[in-house]
Amino acid sequence: MAVEIKINDRLAWVRLVKQNGNLLEVEVDGKIYQVDLLHTQDGTFSIIENGRSYNIELVPQKQPKKYVAHTLYDTFNVEVVDAEARYLINRGSNGVGKDEKTITSPMPGKVVKILVSQGDIIKKGDTAIIISAMKMESEYKAPIDGVVKKVNTKEGETVEGNQILIEIE
């Protein structure tokens, strides 16, 4: 079964040509590799290809079919794009432009101070909220000029990573 795999900005086409136990023949973007591949269920891969020994760790992400992959020096964002994934993409479930109108927490933390309330006028670059994580306080600023539509948190509250904190319109 062939699928497409997105690795950082590259989209590659991959197919299993044949398998003999741990020896696989795999085609990646038209190039045939013969690999000796062993892996654990939790994503530790040992691949020997043409004598070279590769160690790869796949860390599963919350969304299925997404991984963060670690090699010796690099970290890649990897996503398997199969029929189902393509359907979702085509349906446009990944809204565009939404990010520009919100202030989002990039990591878990605790809300130290909220400097705006619903209805406030805010200018691009104004600090709207201060979050503390691991003894460091960070100020988050408005990405655009606008009016505060909604504040989704309050001071003292613990927030998750990627949570929308403030919506602006």
């Binding site: 690795i7 299993l16 654990t40 691949i47 590769y54 090699t71 020096y73 691991m134 003894k135 460091m136």
Partner: protein, 501 residues
């Protein structure tokens, strides 16, 4: 002699474990305290005893003086080791221990007051004839006062928390327009980190080297120094890498600064382990910066080149024993480097990266020590410091130590959270670092070397294959139409027969 039999470690993370290790070697029982966020932390499991002391925010747990005193009495601990941070430089805490007849492993409350408060420390050092950086004589209480002081000293200046340490409550000000916001920010951080928002202001020395001396003093008036540590590789005024000896150091300067450090310790009748921090400029002028009246994060590199267990010395001094180490017998053997591993994203302005450790493999072998506390599946709490471990290497020469550090960083793998490991590896390959020519501006000066310039390997296709196989494995496990692919059953995928090319 009052031999200590049980020590309560009023701390968490790697330093709590490091102290308990020495306790175990000395056959002293250890008592852990833990906050709500730390029930499954390794220090709780390492200790002989463990007691809950409060909610996750440190102000309600690790800074809760009365609760910790209560646990010490309940558990029958005859001494408390405060580690670094938290209550380690809190004179009130040291005094409460004294009142309750518990040995505080550190200097007397009076000395903590005198040296722990940076303003008093400056005065003390000036009286002892040790050069200090020009700055305010005391703390500044209002923003207006700060403005006046800064105009007098002249920009650039550094605003620092009086009660501070570890880079918290610090702000560098280059431009007049940033003065007010910086003072405000420093005070707010100082307040939340130390419960005290007083700050002071110092002239900012450009191209400075941050060099500190480790000292030990006993209760009988003896004091020695254990050479220097070079701590100039910093980001956001927080140390990332330390080494000893300092590449900048000369035998003459070491002798001079070491004597100054010992004099400083003797001037206050210092007992315990402490550190005198200096700023050194390119002309090898040195200025007293501050004294830390506690164990430093980076103490292991001193342990490695001197062979002395500093925690053991602290405990023996606290027992009232006389220092058995003589200055003239001490030698600095080889070279040691420490890298601090933070849970942070160096490619995104060192943003903290809390979360759950997915997998971890620690470097081992000749000349490598790791002092850490996280394990696979451990959720790094958001409430505390992002440092997850310290990697310490030793080599016969500086070159050997750097090569060993590269090797150790190469072996060190932590997934699930972002870490500084690869960034540190890039530092080890930066010409300025390799040549030992760096000051506290090293990070900003070497941006182009330190950026993640992508892949030196050519392993994209192998990553694609790995993800593909994992995907096939997963769909096979949930779908019924087997496509001839045998899914992993055990940790290592079971195949009836392993083949080889």
């Amino acid at each position: 002699m009052n031999y200590i039999k049980k020590i309560l470690v009023a701390n968490r993370g790697e330093i709590a474990i490091r102290i308990m290790r020495t306790c175990r070697e000395m056959e002293i029982k250890s008592v852990a305290v833990f906050s709500e966020a730390d029930r499954t932390s390794l220090h709780v499991r390492y200790a002989d005893e463990a007691f809950y002391v409060g909610k996750a925010p440190s102000s309600e747990s690790y800074l809760n003086v009365e609760k910790i005193i209560e646990v010490a009495k309940q558990s029958g601990a005859d001494a408390i080791h405060p580690g670094y941070g938290f209550l380690s430089e809190n004179a009130r805490f040291a005094r409460r221990c004294q009142e309750e007849g518990i040995i505080f492993i550190g200097p007397s409350p009076e000395v903590i007051d005198q040296m722990g408060d940076k303003i008093k420390a400056r005065e003390t050092m000036q009286k002892a004839g040790i050069p200090v950086v020009p700055g305010t004589e005391g703390s500044v209480d209002t923003e207006e006062e700060a403005l006046r002081a800064i105009r007098q000293i002249g920009l650039p200046v550094m605003i620092k928390a009086s009660a501070g340490g570890g880079g918290k409550g610090m702000r560098l000000v280059h431009n007049e327009k940033d003065i007010v916001s910086s003072v405000r920010a420093a005070r707010s951080e100082a307040k939340s980190a130390f419960g005290d928002d007083s700050v002071y202001i110092e002239k900012y020395i450009s191209s400075p080297h941050h060099i500190e001396f480790q000292i030990l003093g006993d209760q009988h008036g003896n004091a020695i120094h254990l050479f220097e540590r070079e701590c100039s590789v910093q980001r956001r005024h927080q140390k990332m890498i330390e080494e000893t000896p300092s590449p900048l150091m000369t035998p003459e300067l070491r002798e001079k600064m070491g004597s100054a450090a010992v004099e400083a310790a003797k001037a206050v009748k210092y007992s315990g382990a402490g550190t005198i921090e200096f700023l050194v400029d390119d002309n090898l002028n040195y200025y007293f910066l501050e004294m830390n009246t506690r164990l430093q994060v980076e103490h292991p590199i001193t342990e490695r080149v001197t062979g002395i267990d500093l925690v053991k010395q602290q405990i023996k001094i606290a027992e009232g024993q006389e220092l058995s180490i003589k200055q003239e017998k001490l030698a600095l053997g080889g070279h040691s480097i420490e890298c601090r591993i933070y849970a942070e994203d160096p490619d995104n302005n060192f943003m903290p990266s809390p979360g759950k450790i997915y997998k971890i493999s620690e470097p081992l072998g000749l000349g490598v020590r790791t002092d850490g506390y996280v394990y696979e599946g451990y959720e790094i709490p958001i409430h505390y410091d992002p440092m997850i471990s310290k990697l310490i290497v030793w080599g016969g020469t500086r070159d050997e130590a750097i090569r060993r550090m590269r090797r150790a960083l190469y072996e060190y793998k932590i997934t699930g959270v972002k870490t500084s490991i690869k960034y540190l590896e890039r530092i080890m390959n930066t010409p300025d670092f390799i040549q030992g020519k760096y000051d506290t501006h090293f990070i900003e000066k070497n941006q182009e070397y330190l950026l993640n310039n992508g892949t030196p390997e050519d392993s994209d296709d192998m990553v694609i294959i790995a993800a593909y196989i994992d995907y096939l494995d997963k769909i096979n496990r949930i779908q019924t139409d087997n496509q001839g692919f045998a899914p992993a059953q055990s940790r290592w995928k079971k195949i009836s027969y392993i083949n080889h090319f």
